[in-house]
């Protein structure tokens, strides 16, 4: 009787063991399928033409370029300001605090669609000097005097528009390119 029970139990256990074995085989097969899929996706990723390194490199380059551009914009602004301020005495500086202190000439477009390239800028900001002529910079500044801060424009109409509708922050003198009396001596012979 006792043996009969054990034999029954043995049969059940044997059946269970076969199930477990089969499950294990199925599981192994499925794992192989998944592994193959993982490998396939890895290849797909490698073939995408992009990578973690490429991503990092390209972001780094972009950030560097943006930072450099921002920095230089700041430096350029700072020079414009300091140049103008250092050209003034202390009293003038105090008096002009409210005005736009800049070597760049600020104005509002007199009308919509105004071509801003018609305004060339301040005389001073358009002058380039050879380093070997830096010792003549003072003499040249005195030569130009107040005209250093005159504004060069294309024609008298542009000047008129600026003064009437440019909302200028300070008093300016305009030099219209095709309306100015040329009083220069010829420089060629002097070379």
């Amino acid at each position: 009787m006792k043996l009969g029970i054990s034999q029954n139990e043995l049969k059940t256990l044997e059946a269970k063991w076969r199930d477990v074995e089969r499950d294990a085989q199925d599981g192994q097969k499925k794992l192989e399928v998944i592994s193959a899929e993982v490998e396939k996706l890895k290849k797909h990723l490698d073939g995408s033409g992009w990578s973690e390194e490429a991503e990092q490199r390209s972001q780094q380059q972009l950030n560097d370029a943006r930072r450099e551009y921002r920095n230089l914009t700041e430096v350029s602004k700072a020079i414009s300001l300091s140049t103008y301020y250092s050209s003034l005495s202390y009293q003038e500086r105090e008096g002009k605090k409210q005005r736009a202190p800049s070597l760049s000439f600020d104005y509002d477009s007199p009308y919509p669609g105004f071509d801003r390239s018609k305004v060339k800028g301040l005389v001073a900001s358009l002058i380039s000097l050879k380093p070997s002529d830096y010792d003549k910079a003072t003499a040249l500044e005195i030569t130009a005097g107040g005209r250093l801060y005159n504004v060069i424009v294309r024609d008298p109409q542009v000047g008129q528009d600026l003064i009437d509708k440019g909302r200028l922050r300070k008093r300016i003198t305009i030099i219209p390119l095709n309306g100015i009396r040329d009083r220069r001596l010829s420089p060629q012979v002097n070379r």
Binding site: W17, A65, S89, A139, T143, A144, L148, D182, V189
Partner: protein, 166 residues
């Protein structure tokens, strides 16, 4: 006549006098304005030269400025003394022009990189999708391996109980 003035000046004091206009650089389009501002003054090395040039009968009267900043007018007036208030502006403008040139270059580089970035967009999206898919699949694999490990354990368990009866 004007040409003659300039050549006469350089004959009077060779190497010591320049027309102010010939010392400054500027965009071609503003030449007339620069001529107006710098075209009728001589820059002279010293006051001796300046006097010679300004009061020369052959030149017939031209303004001269010395490196020190003294101004000789044909009318006879002489200005000088304290350092000029605008001192240093033109040298600082050189700094500004240099910075603006570098700014232009930096802008060019930035534009190029942004264009490149735009061209890389397709590749980057493919890469993003592919790495997301891979992650999901790898996670699935890990989960399944854990599950398999669990059933292995139960297999061993069953085997042990089976052996007990044999």
């Amino acid at each position: 006549m004007v040409r003659k003035q300039v050549s006469t000046a350089s004959h009077l004091a060779p190497g010591k006098v320049d027309l102010a206009l010939s010392l400054v650089g500027y965009p071609d389009e503003v030449e007339k304005a620069m001529g107006f501002v710098f075209g009728s003054t001589f820059i002279c090395k010293d006051s001796e030269t300046a006097k010679q040039v300004t009061f020369s009968k052959e030149i017939g009267g031209a303004r001269s400025v010395t490196l020190e900043g003294d101004v000789y007018e044909p009318s006879g007036t002489l200005s000088g003394g304290a350092a000029p208030t605008s001192s240093g502006v033109l040298v600082k403008v050189q700094d500004l022009l240099d910075t603006e040139r570098r700014l232009d270059e930096a802008k060019g580089r930035l534009d190029d990189l942004e264009k490149q970035n735009e061209r890389d967009r397709g590749r980057r999206e493919r890469w993003n999708t592919a790495s997301r898919e891979l992650q999901i699949k790898q996670h699935e694999k890990k989960l399944f391996e854990e599950q398999l490990g669990g059933s292995n354990a139960s297999r061993v368990n069953s085997f042990v109980s089976f052996r007990q009866f044999s």
